[in-house]
Symmetry: C2
DNA sequence: CCTCACATGTAATGAGTTACATGATTGG
DNA sequence: CCAATCATGTAACTCATTACATGTGAGG
């Protein structure tokens, strides 16, 4: 048990915010702000977080001010200079504290599902293109995960990926399986056929 | 096609925000602010949206100011007075406009998955309790959806529910199937066994 | 009696997004 | 030559959350 005097606050008081996210990523290995962003966009964290540069860079500065991360400059010829951050001992303690907080419910905002729910009101061609886009995206995600799976990794890290894979597959199967029905309902909707435009 | 002069802006310019959400809910039938909230919490919209009272009530006021919704007072004996909102013709047009915008990617923030990803750093008992909570929640969601399915509804509305059901089931199966492995990894983690407290 | 569900609203606060600002290098 | 990728950062802004404020009636 950490004594009261050694207690280091988890970055504020919910499990996940951009600071904790950065600590988590850095726990897996040093990285630049740019890389952290990428990991939340299409990388290993993309199934459950997202953060913009405007959030990540200030978060890293704040973490540094609190001594939870440190950085060094790195220059590869032919590349811009980058700041490679690492987690410190204090940072590790803060991360662990955050990880032991009670989690909040997931936040899911899906504009796609909202449109799907009201597909009889939208233009059929729009519904169709949204469906196609989504299916293509799911296929890309599944391919990416499959690739990651084959190149090893294992251990705990694979749970999040397996979880993502299970969900993507379920979504994909559902959408492909219902595509015709959805398009059919959209086609018979209140808007009727597509207006010329 | 709506002529330029008849164009009514979709509530600002992304598909989903609290205003559009309210319009969508009201399109299915009149409702009070309180009811809208409930639907995003555990109701028919809970798989893909969420909004607090602090967002819904101002949104309804703004929609009313724009003539997109109207309301009447309703008093049931033994209940507080409530404002029952309905969508107007203009509101319908605005909703349809929003529905035809290109959707953004889903936003998913899962503190649970974040903890799962780093389960070897959290206290094993904490990981276990988070897992149990999540599995129980999924079971409740599935039971609720099953109930809704049996009491009819059909048509387009069921797509969102079926989609939710597919995803919940995938999550549930995954978590239950991996529960022992996850607990095992958590138990062998860096924190080791639970400290006394 | 106390808490929970019902019901509406406002004010303070905040976390994060978007847009801006800048710049090097590589590949088509 | 232009676009894309790599790379860091700030300022303005916005949307929504949290907390506050208030009140009724039912049920344990």
């Amino acid at each position: 048990m950490l004594g009261a005097h050694t207690r280091i606050d988890a970055a504020e008081n919910d499990v996940m915010n951009v600071k904790t996210l950065c600590l988590g990523v850095l726990e897996l290995g040093e990285a630049s702000g740019y890389e952290i962003r990428k990991m939340t966009q299409d990388g290993r964290f993309s199934h459950f977080v997202d953060a913009s540069y405007g959030a990540i860079y200030p978060a890293l500065s704040a973490l540094e001010a609190d001594g939870l991360v440190s950085w060094r400059e790195e220059r590869h010829p032919g590349r811009p200079e980058r700041k490679v951050y690492s987690i410190t001992e204090r940072g590790r303690v803060a991360l662990i504290a955050a990880l032991n907080e009670e989690t909040r419910d997931d936040v899911i905002k899906s504009e796609f599902l909202f449109v799907l729910r009201f597909c009889e009101l939208a233009r059929p061609s729009h519904v169709k293109s949204e469906l196609d886009r989504r299916i293509a995206w799911l296929e890309a995600q599944l391919a990416r995960l499959e690739e990651a799976r084959q190149s090893g990794c294992g251990t705990a890290s694979s749970f999040a990926q397996g979880y993502g894979q299970a969900i993507y597959r379920a979504m994909h199967e559902y959408l492909v399986g219902n595509r015709h029905d959805i398009e059919d309902i959209a086609g018979r909707g209140l808007i009727g056929r597509d207006a010329a435009e």
